[in-house]
């Protein structure tokens, strides 16, 4: 096969879902659940923290979902999904043993190589922690390669804190700074109340060299980025995860464009200086 033919057939394969099966379904929150998938037959799967798959439900449709598990585990695929539309609701109805189509992994990764020897600050909120959980696994797996590592997490209410047990476990480590906060809380809540941006000035990091990973609702990212810049973190060291409509996930359909970036290949994780012309502008 010529190189061209190889590229062509590889691309055709990327447009065709492979069948995986549901091994486990974990209910995380009221409308958020984690799906653990295993391959139907013998197949290799590896991904980098930050990447996503297109998950297909037979006859319903396809949706991009970030991988939310440990990149070190190559035998299973873990996705954390919020039930918001037709396809995600259909995924929610799947049971153990049911088949799911998988295309991927696609997209860019959290840039660890840029963070070697530096502090890392992770600012995330809501479901945004899902694509960052693999990053935390990765950071902890090579902990000695990085400086101070901070994880700041914001949620709507205490009931909306995702991966709470895991966050508490991370919080227990001496080599990780973890702070969580909620927008509003009932009485009895002994944690922080306030937006996640208020945690940024208090976090331990060297603003001149730190690498920031930010992921969450766009508004939350905008304000977090503002706060980071106020602290002296420059744009090329701030990495955000942008989301737009995805159809092909291989850079041909044009749907996922955000300014000049195709989020399926230049993103979803992208340095802020690369998209500063468009970040924060309306209707881009």
């Amino acid at each position: 096969m010529s190189l061209e033919e190889h590229a062509m057939s590889a691309t055709a394969d990327l447009m065709t879902p492979r069948v995986f099966r549901v091994r486990r379904k974990i209910r995380e929150l009221r409308d958020v659940f984690t799906l653990v998938l295993e391959p139907s037959g013998p197949t290799e799967f590896s991904f980098a923290a930050g990447q996503f798959n297109m998950l297909y439900v037979f006859g319903v449709g396809e949706v991009p979902i970030s991988l939310s598990g440990d990149p070190g585990q190559t035998q299973i695929l873990v996705h954390t999904i919020r039930s918001v539309g037709a396809v995600t609701r259909a995924i929610n109805k799947l049971k153990r043993g049911d088949a799911v189509g998988v295309r991927g992994p696609f997209g860019s990764q959290w840039p660890f190589e840029k963070a070697f020897g530096r502090d890392v600050i992770i600012v995330t909120g809501g479901l945004g922690i899902a694509p960052l959980r693999p990053a935390v696994h990765q950071l902890l797996a090579q902990r000695e390669s990085f400086g101070k590592v901070s994880l700041l997490y914001g949620a709507r209410t205490p009931n909306d804190i995702l991966f709470q047990k895991e966050i508490e476990r991370w919080r227990g480590r001496l080599d990780l700074e973890v702070e969580a906060t909620v927008d509003s809380a009932p009485p009895g809540w002994r944690g922080n109340v306030g937006v996640v941006t208020t945690l940024i000035p208090r976090a331990q990091f060297d603003p001149a060299t730190v690498i920031a990973f930010v992921c969450g609702p766009e508004v939350m990212m905008r304000f977090s980025v503002l706060e980071l810049e106020k602290c002296g973190v420059s744009k090329e060291r701030i990495f955000i995860s942008m989301e737009r409509n995805m159809k092909c996930a291989i850079g041909f359909c044009g749907h996922c464009q955000f300014g000049a970036a195709f989020l399926c290949k230049d993103g979803p994780i992208i340095a802020l200086d690369r998209v500063q012309t468009w970040f924060g502008k309306r209707e881009i």
Binding site: R156, D183, S184, P187, W189, V195, V219
Partner: protein
């Protein structure tokens, strides 16, 4: 705690950063240290606001009681923050309950005296107002963000 201890505490706090040494010194001579065990109220909504509190240690929640739904926590104030500003503006009444969530230590200054100084010495007054305005702006921006309910349902 000695005046020197208070001076150090003031110099280290983000709020008083950049203040002139003579102002720091004057504040330190009037400062006292207070402690509040976890769960205790530092002040309550409606009370007379006659103290300036700088949180040195611990966390404080600002709470409000609504008859139909009980107590809501509005915001968490942490060490290094100034707790409230109702002491500065008439009618000098606290607008929220402030409760220590963990043991809290404050640097407290009498608000009567502080207000008097702010009025009499406009240089000092300006420095204080500048800082308080900054705190208010940050809190307002954060509150607005809180209100937009970014995580959605």
């Amino acid at each position: 705690m000695t005046t020197e201890d208070f001076k150090l505490a003031l110099i280290e706090s983000p709020f008083f950063r950049g203040m002139q040494p003579r102002h720091i010194h004057e504040l330190a001579t009037q400062a006292i240290s207070e402690r509040f065990p976890a769960g205790e109220f530092i002040f309550r909504e409606g009370e007379d606001a006659q103290k300036f509190y700088l949180i040195r240690e611990g966390r404080v929640t600002l709470e409000v009681l609504a008859p139909d739904r009980g107590v809501s926590i509005v915001q968490t104030i942490s060490s290094g923050d100034v707790l409230g500003w109702s002491w500065l503006f008439p009618p000098h009444r606290w607008h929220f309950d402030a409760r220590a969530v963990e043991p809290v230590q404050t640097l407290t200054v009498d608000a009567h005296w502080l207000r008097g100084w702010i009025e009499a010495d406009h240089d000092f007054g300006y420095e204080m107002m500048k800082r308080i305005a900054h705190v208010m702006v940050s809190r307002l921006q954060a509150t607005r963000l809180q209100l937009t309910d970014v995580y959605g349902a």
